[in-house]
């Protein structure tokens, strides 16, 4: 099994840490993983993306042009990465702020209203966990228990009390993700 994922959005949306938790989850179930961010000069704003690979065997290139799954959190990223999803692959996006929606018909497209849901849950910080939940619903490649372990590893101990909240958010994501029909 190899799953090649791109997660892309604004800096500050938790793109990198979502990828990190996913990768850690993979390690928890003894997989090979890689996490390769885009990086630039340190300026607030702008876009960020990370390529995450989970695999049962040695990972060759950590940099990819095509992905099994694209997790898309803003318009620029959608414009950039929609075409990079492998035929038959999955694209998950948060429709908030999106004016030009996905058009590909050879892939499976899903929406997750994570922004809205995070607002409802009154915690912007769990936005990315809701998105992660959506992904896990569609691609249950890591077990929830391993995600929780991954969270533990990637969060500093002083933030461990937030794990239940994160778990809740993931579950919310699993719950609210819905197919988007391209027409």
């Amino acid at each position: 099994m190899t799953e090649e994922i791109i997660i892309a959005g604004f800096g500050g949306q938790g793109v990198l840490s979502m990828g990190k938790i996913l990768a850690y989850s993979g390690i928890m179930q003894d997989q090979e993983v890689s996490w390769m961010p885009s990086y630039g000069p340190e300026m607030r704003g702008g876009t960020a993306n990370v390529t995450v690979i989970l695999s049962d065997s040695r990972i060759s290139s950590p940099i990819l042009q095509e992905f099994d799954t694209a997790i898309i959190l803003n318009q620029q990223s959608l414009d950039k990465f929609e075409k990079s999803v492998k035929p038959g692959g999955v694209l998950i996006y948060d429709p908030n702020g999106i004016t030009r929606h996905p058009v590909r018909k050879d892939i499976k497209v899903y929406q997750v209203d994570a922004t809205e849901e995070a607002l409802k849950m009154k915690n912007a910080k769990i936005f990315n966990m809701i998105v992660l939940g959506a992904f896990l619903k569609l691609k249950p490649i890591v077990k929830m228990e391993n995600v929780i372990k991954g969270l533990k590893e990637s969060l500093p101990p002083r933030h461990h009390h937030l794990i239940p909240l994160n778990e809740e958010a993931i579950k919310k994501g699993i719950e609210i993700v819905k197919q988007f029909s391209v027409n």
Partner: protein, 253 residues
Amino acid sequence: MVEVKDIIKEENLVYTKSKILTDKVFHYCPGCSHGVVHKLIAEVIEEMDIQDKTIAISPVGCSVLAYNYLAVDWQEAAHGRAPALATAVSRLMPDKYVFAYQGDGDLASIGTAEIIHACNRGENIVIIFINNGIYGMTGGQMAPTTLEGMPTSTSPYGRDVKLAGHPLKITDLIAQLPGTEYVTRQAVHTPAAVRKCKKAILKAFQNVGKKNGTQFIEVVSTCNSGWKLSPVKANEWMVENMFPVYPLGDLKG
């Protein structure tokens, strides 16, 4: 009652962007002091009508892309070396208005030798020194001007003066060099400060016309990203913490 739409008319315009500024959107973080200082330099160049005589040198630092924003001829220096470039330009084209724009890492750390010697030689240039007490561009590392106890990514527990030394008041040293004519410390956190800072920049550029030495303007600045504060809070923090160490005012000239 005057309506807003009646006020917003060409003939009532009292403040707008300098024509020296290009249309490009600053890449700076929201609220970054760099933008304000850029604007002031642009206004001075516009008012002095020296666009064709200005040669600007940008540093390596957040303002590395300054050349995208002011419509004057630019040279992009190597990290810390802007004063060396400026020296050559001013000597080879003595009638130009040459200014070097530098951050605190650029000027007071790696470029210490270049700034001291350019100022000591009294090169006929303007130095604009943006002291935000941190390395903005590379992600908020400690600068020579970082305050005691101030956390940065390379002093995560606060600057420990036993390990890293005290904040370097480079402007105080510069002021003592016989080559400098005008040395001042300004800020741009309030409208009044902005006005004063602009006057200082204007004076510096005007002095260059008289060729009496180096003009040095420190602008005590915020890096709200590096400081991990909102822009407004960053200004407050600066007033409270930076100004006592870097008091505003003219040091010379």
